[in-house]
Symmetry: C2
Subunit: 259 residues, 2 copies
DNA sequence: CGTCGTGTTGAACTCAGTCAAGCCAGGTGG
DNA sequence: CCACCTGGCTTGACTGAGTTCAACACGACG
């Protein structure tokens, strides 16, 4: 789709993959990277609104998003759902496969997207003797925990407007890491329904909040993009005085993949 | 204090520690367990309301709660805080030390409690060649992620009453794993303020919710204990038709330490 | 040209927050 | 032994942020 980050291209060799640096495989040498290609089971196209897998499903592979946007979510019996994570190119899902545990949450395409599926067993064997890869995987898990816990605090303690501001701020920061040109003006393929499901709000109220942010000239939406007009105001709302990445964790300055 | 699970006793050798089976060190052989004792830097008493460490602090050790209750939290500039996790005996905190990353959140005693501190560097070296221990640590990280994400959904989508019910249900399930006698009637050293900070509510409203749960004869509080009177009603509120552990993850039936 | 998905707007309503007062138990000190 | 204080719990009255329901607008797409 038009929202593809690297429109048109399809995954080739992992060794020369332009995204590899920001994935969990970023620490490997290029020649090691070549071996990854052999571990790859499949390159899978996933249309928007389709599920890659569902919560509880047994996973055969670990998936890395190559192109497009997706999200992880849990569905409730009553039909509502909670979006847990927006997936951007380079993000990996299904690490629980490495422990032979079923998927904790479902994954769905937000746009049409492309996933690289790496065979669970072969990846496990491959990572076993490679300390840096193992560490990177562990690091990713801990980092996700930190992000989740920050979000927990957001949901528990912040108003709708603050949540939206924080959500956009974090998303922009992540996009910029993939493409520096995204700063200040980035694609936003989410429907308001998705924002609502991510932030524990109703679509109706998300609409009102966006309206308010626009009438206050803090941001502008056009097409499926968002433009930041008043960054200081946005950052203040988001609760981070700086420009809105991790003050709390102060995490490593090294590459830190996967949301 | 009186809430101690194993009142009076102090940590001896890790090899014979009665708690070891439910910690991340549970998979080790007894003789391996002996070596753990050598890795232990310190047995630390922590009084109620005191911090073991604070968010952002560099950690020298990985801590396992031996006795008493504690909690992890993040504090906001405006004075409010979000409780992220209730720590029970056997729970481990500070795994980020293994990656030389600073603490993501602060840890505070709820009752007087005792922590076993294991030296970061020696533990890392010890775990390096032991696949089962490494896996157990990774498993713990993923499990915490699952728990956090379930809680995220709770905060986003459930009413105050449902949140309290889910909170108590989960806590009881964890207590029962330590001590089967806790089923139906378990210690509850938390102030309503703590419940409020954990669930994104105000203490005033927590009080009202507890009152309602009691007038509906769903539970009873006396002293610092909670007694479940109407389990089906509680489980229904908590959103899990069964008796309230993990339906969503369907996680491994193996031991699953750390919350 | 109708329909579907999405966003917008208004009005009524409700859950939970805020503020403030009072209560109770436990501890401390005269 | 009583007076007082403190921390936590309770209750009531009021407020407000966000939901619910419903109608309508608008563009894409058959």
């Amino acid at each position: 789709m038009s929202e593809r980050t690297i429109a048109g291209s399809r995954p080739g060799s992992c060794g020369t993959c332009p995204l590899r640096a920001i994935t969990i495989y970023g620490g490997l040498d290029p020649q090691d990277g070549e071996e990854l290609t052999a571990i790859r089971r499949e390159v899978q196209d996933l249309p928007a609104k389709a599920d890659l897998f569902q919560a509880g499903q047994k996973l055969e592979s670990v998936a890395t998003l190559f192109d497009g946007w997706a999200f992880r979510y849990t569905a409730f019996p009553d039909g509502s759902r909670q979006i847990l994570q927006i997936l951007l190119p380079g993000d990996t899902v299904g690490l629980s496969a490495l422990l032979d545990e079923p998927a904790q949450a479902s994954v769905q395409g937000l746009t049409d997207c492309i996933f690289c599926l790496l065979d669970r067993d072969r990846l496990r064997a491959y990572a076993q003797p490679r300390r840096s890869l193992r560490q990177q995987i562990f690091r990713t898990a801990l980092h996700r925990q930190a992000v989740n816990e920050r979000r927990l605090a957001q949901l528990g303690r912040r108003t709708a407007k603050q949540r939206v501001a924080a959500f956009l701020t974090e998303l922009e920061a992540r996009l910029v890491r993939i493409d520096p040109d995204a700063a200040g003006n980035f694609p936003f393929p989410l429907r308001q329904m998705h924002v609502a499901d991510a932030l524990g709000l109703t679509p109706v109220h998300v609409s009102r909040v966006f309206r308010e942010l626009q009438t206050q000239a803090i941001l502008r939406r056009s097409g499926r993009r968002i433009e930041v007009l008043d960054r200081p105001a946005l950052a203040r709302l988001a609760g981070v005085p700086g420009d809105g990445d991790d003050t709390s964790t102060g995490a490593g300055r090294q590459q830190m993949p996967c949301q």
